[in-house]
Structures are given as structure tokens and as C-alpha cells.
């Protein structure tokens, strides 16, 4: 039986289609379905060069609902490519098997991916580079651009090729061994701590209320009481209150309106 082998260039072409166009046709109905099929085009053409019907079936099976975090989720595509290669070489892999592995992995990897890329890496890089910019240093945005491009591209590329190289077994091992939970746990801890740092740095809310105690002595609610208790208490409480409503499912737009209103009231009254 003919050995249908993919070259590194084929796999790279497939990765490139995804890395560029993953969100191009993002939609409410099937989210990244068309983008997934797009990324499988070079693979199908290479694996079934003379069989139009097989190509068509292959693309059809990857037109189903798909949604994950595009950077870390690349490992799913890598695994799928490896499975498609096995299938083309005679392994009996059903459409259900493909769908099972894709839908089984896309949720957990969206969790890891969003935590890592949007929840941890980007806020840290932003905070560092905003700090550099605020010292009147034009390098801030430039460092941000280069660093983020390098980080995101290399994670995506390595995820894809690791998935392809080690296939289902590697991913199953990661999932069952709880490794993925350890990554989420460690990244969440790091991210939460940095969020605390950002709250302290970028929410400079202080009570302006002063009480005249007579005889020239004044009592500042902020400096004489709160700073002695815990510096940063107001930003902490504010964030926790907002978090409470976010968890209860309040829409971000409504919360934003509420914060603006609260800011107008407290600002006018001179509380903050």
C-alpha cells in the first residue's frame, strides 16, 4: 500500500493558514469551523492527491462547530493532522473519532489558552511596557510589539508541531496526568498576583475626606486610617465588588455604566 507521507512544509503550510486566518470568519453559528477546514486544505490535497471524493469528505468532516483559543489550541490541529495522516495510510479512524478528539480538547485548551495568553502574558507585557512608555521612553510600544509577536508565534508553532509529532497519546497523557491542570493552576496563581500588582499601580483611588479636629489638627481618612490598616484597600474592595457582579453574570457594558455613574457621584461629592 502506498505510503502517504506529509512533509514538514505541508504541516507548516497548514499551520500558517490557521495562524493567519483563524478568526477571519469568526461567527456566532459555528465560530472557527471554516477556518479549521481552511487549515486542513493543504493536508487533504497532499494525502489524497487523486481522490476528489476523499478530499471532499475530509473537508466536510472539519466543517463542524469548532472554537478554541487560537494560539494554544494549535495542538489540536497538530493532533488532527497526525490522525489524518494515519487514516490516509489505512488506519480505520472514523469521523466520530475526529470529532470526539476535537470537541474533547477544544474546551480545556480554550481554558488554558485564554488563561495563558490573555490572562497572564498580555497583561504582564502590557504593564511592563506601559511603565516604560510612561517614563517618556518610546521603546515601550516597540518592545511590546516585538515581544508579543515572538511569544505568540513561537507558542502557536510549537504547539502545532508537538501535537503533530506526539499525536493523541501525548495529549491524552497530558490530560489524564493532570499536567494541564497544573499549568492552569500555576498560570492562574501568577496571573492573579500580577492583577493585584496592576490594581495597586493603576487604580489610584484615595479618600479625599478630611475631618477638622480643631486646633489646626486634621484627620485624613486615607492617610491616618486606611493607610495604617492596609494600603490599597479601596482599589481592593472596588475590584472585589465588581468581581462579585461579574461572577453573578452582569453584562460588562452595564457594569461599565454603573462604574461611570459611581465615579460621577463620588467625584462630585469629593469623596475620591
Amino acid at each position: 500500500m502506498a505510503d502517504n507521507k506529509l512533509t514538514k512544509a505541508d504541516v507548516r503550510k497548514s499551520w500558517f493558514n490557521w495562524f493567519m486566518f483563524a478568526q477571519s470568519n469568526y461567527n456566532y453559528e459555528r465560530l472557527q469551523a471554516v477556518a479549521f477546514a481552511h487549515s486542513m486544505l493543504p493536508i487533504m490535497k497532499k494525502l489524497y492527491p487523486h481522490d476528489k471524493e476523499e478530499q471532499k469528505q475530509g473537508i466536510t468532516r472539519h466543517m463542524s462547530f469548532f472554537n478554541t483559543e487560537p494560539i494554544c489550541g494549535s495542538v489540536i490541529h497538530g493532533v488532527t493532522v497526525a490522525m489524518e495522516e494515519e487514516r490516509a495510510n489505512g488506519q480505520p479512524i472514523t469521523d466520530e473519532a475526529f470529532n470526539g478528539i476535537k470537541t474533547g480538547l477544544m474546551g480545556p485548551l480554550a481554558g488554558v489558552g485564554d488563561t495563558l495568553t490573555q490572562g497572564v502574558i498580555t497583561p504582564i507585557m502590557l504593564a511592563i511596557c506601559i511603565g516604560i512608555t510612561n517614563n517618556n521612553n518610546i521603546a515601550g510600544p516597540i518592545i511590546f510589539l516585538l515581544a508579543q509577536f515572538m511569544i505568540m508565534t513561537s507558542i502557536s508553532y510549537n504547539m502545532w508541531f508537538n501535537g503533530y509529532r506526539y499525536g493523541r497519546r501525548a495529549v491524552e497523557e497530558i490530560m489524564s496526568g493532570g499536567k494541564i491542570n497544573r499549568v492552569i493552576e500555576a498560570a492562574s496563581l501568577l496571573g492573579t498576583m500580577v492583577m493585584g500588582g496592576l490594581v495597586g499601580r493603576f487604580i489610584p483611588l484615595e479618600f479625599y475626606l478630611n475631618f477638622d479636629l480643631g486646633g489646626g489638627a486634621a484627620f485624613s481618612l486615607q492617610h491616618d486610617l486606611l493607610d495604617k490598616l492596609m494600603p490599597g484597600l479601596i482599589p481592593l474592595v472596588l475590584t472585589l465588588v465588581v468581581l462579585h457582579y461579574v461572577r453573578k453574570g452582569a453584562s460588562p457594558i452595564k457594569l461599565m455604566g454603573a462604574l461611570i455613574l459611581f465615579g460621577i457621584i463620588t467625584g462630585c461629592l469629593g469623596i475620591f
Binding site: 471554516v34 494560539i71 506601559i130 510589539l145 492583577m195 493603576f202
Partner: protein, 253 residues
């Protein structure tokens, strides 16, 4: 400062590019953020440093910005490009720029929702073409129709607001007194809490939240830089992870 139509169009073009696939998916993590948007707008208008500073200020509001599952707190990119342009054109300080950018970014969320809705039609088109065996149409449909739609829906509004906006902003500035500016600053200081809370919804739990307080203390009380806080956080995270792993292994053996 007077903006030419060409400058407004260039800013609109970069706003489109920041949501488009042409800068790869890494574009979402770079050109989509107000820090870089402000810098680019600044270059187009001949004030790169000013633009970067305004962009940095606007980006503070969107620090914890997360786009997951459709719930968005606005369009940071629109706030970044258009907000910076209006701020430079009308000579606004960073605090006022932040205050006018937030409503802009919030209104622009509509564009995003409309785009995701219309894109659904293209999926059915792709289904039909695959059925007919026109496989290359999948690549075409994934790229061309959604991008034409996105271009129309992003380039035109951004360009128009940048070109005609300064007149409206200048009218508004006449009614701004120091008291109102103070209120703007209070709002600007409160809004980052929303982005950070949305981020914490994802990563905060009973195990990690104590470290949130540790992070606040590190920055307010110990005045540590964010990069130092990140390193301390990484050390703690790796240590705890290693301890958990060891006890798990011990338990199984």
C-alpha cells in the same frame, strides 16, 4: 491641529488591520491594543511620543481585557486609534483622552456583534461549495467575504469619526471645568477594575485570591515594579506546583 483626510484614512486603515488576519493572529495581541494603537496614530499625526503616552493611558482601562465567549467590555482597538487621534487633534491631556475613549470603545462593540452575525451566512455558503466539490472556495470564503465586510464596517466609521470628531470634541471642551476633569480622572481610575475583575473571573479562585492581595501589597506598600512582582509570582507558582506534584506522586505510590 487640523487632520487631513489622508491621515484620518490611514488611522482607519490601521484600525481595520488590527482586527484583520493580515497581521496574523499575533496582531490581536499587538496592533489591537491601545498602547500600540496610540503609538501608530501618533506616528501618522507626527507626534509619536505623545501618541504612545495617550495610548498607554487608554490601555490602562483595558489592562485585564479578555475576549472569551462573546462577552466584551468594549473595543480596545477603536478606543486606542480613534481616542488617540481625537486627543492629539484637540490637544487633550491623558486623563481626558481616557474619558472620551471609553464610550467610543463601548459603542464600537456593536460592529463586532454585527460582524459575527453576518459571518454566519458565509458558513452556509462554504457548506454548499464543499458539497459541489469546490474545495478551494473554502479558503476564499474564509478570507475574502468576511474581510470585505470587516473593512467596510471598520474602516469607514473609524475614518469618519477621526475626521469629523475633533469639531465635536472642541465643542465639548468649552464646557469642561477643572471639577469635571477631576470627575473624569476618578472614572478613569475606576474603570480598570472592570477589566481586572473580568480577568479574575477566569483565573481567580479560593486558591489564588490570597495572592491577589499579596500583589496589591507588593505594588502599593513595597512599591515593586510589575516585572519584579511577576518574577516573585512565577517563583511562588512553580514552588507550589512542584510541591503539589510531589505529594500527588507520593499518594499514588
Amino acid at each position: 491641529m487640523e487632520l487631513t483626510l489622508l491621515q484620518a484614512a490611514l488611522i482607519g486603515l490601521f484600525y481595520y488591520l488590527s482586527w484583520s488576519p493580515w497581521l496574523s493572529y499575533a496582531g490581536f495581541f499587538t496592533f489591537n491594543r491601545p498602547l500600540l494603537a496610540g503609538f501608530i496614530t501618533g506616528i501618522i499625526l507626527g507626534h509619536p511620543m505623545e501618541g504612545a503616552l495617550i495610548g498607554a493611558g487608554i490601555n490602562v482601562i483595558y489592562l485585564g481585557f479578555i475576549s472569551a465567549g462573546g462577552a466584551q467590555m468594549g473595543d480596545p482597538s477603536f478606543a486606542g486609534y480613534v481616542g488617540t487621534a481625537l486627543a492629539i487633534a484637540s490637544n487633550l491631556d491623558v486623563g481626558t483622552a481616557m474619558a472620551i475613549s471609553v464610550p467610543l470603545g463601548t459603542i464600537a462593540t456593536v460592529l463586532w456583534i454585527a460582524k459575527m452575525t453576518v459571518n454566519s451566512f458565509f458558513v452556509h455558503w462554504a457548506d454548499r461549495e464543499v458539497e459541489k466539490g469546490n474545495l478551494n472556495m473554502v479558503a476564499f470564503i474564509n478570507v475574502v467575504p468576511p474581510q470585505v465586510l470587516l473593512f467596510v464596517m471598520s474602516f469607514i466609521p473609524a475614518t469618519l469619526v477621526v475626521y469629523y470628531g475633533p469639531t465635536a470634541v472642541n465643542g465639548m471642551l468649552n464646557i469642561l471645568t477643572p471639577n469635571i476633569l477631576h470627575v473624569f480622572n476618578v472614572i478613569g481610575a475606576m474603570l480598570p477594575a472592570l477589566g481586572i475583575a473580568m480577568n479574575l473571573k477566569l483565573i481567580g479562585n479560593s486558591f489564588t485570591m490570597p495572592f491577589f492581595i499579596l500583589g496589591i501589597l507588593c505594588s502599593v506598600y513595597f512599591q515593586m515594579d510589575i516585572i519584579i512582582i511577576s518574577i516573585v509570582g512565577a517563583v511562588i507558582a512553580l514552588t507550589i506546583s512542584a510541591i503539589n506534584y510531589r505529594s500527588d506522586k507520593g499518594g499514588n505510590a
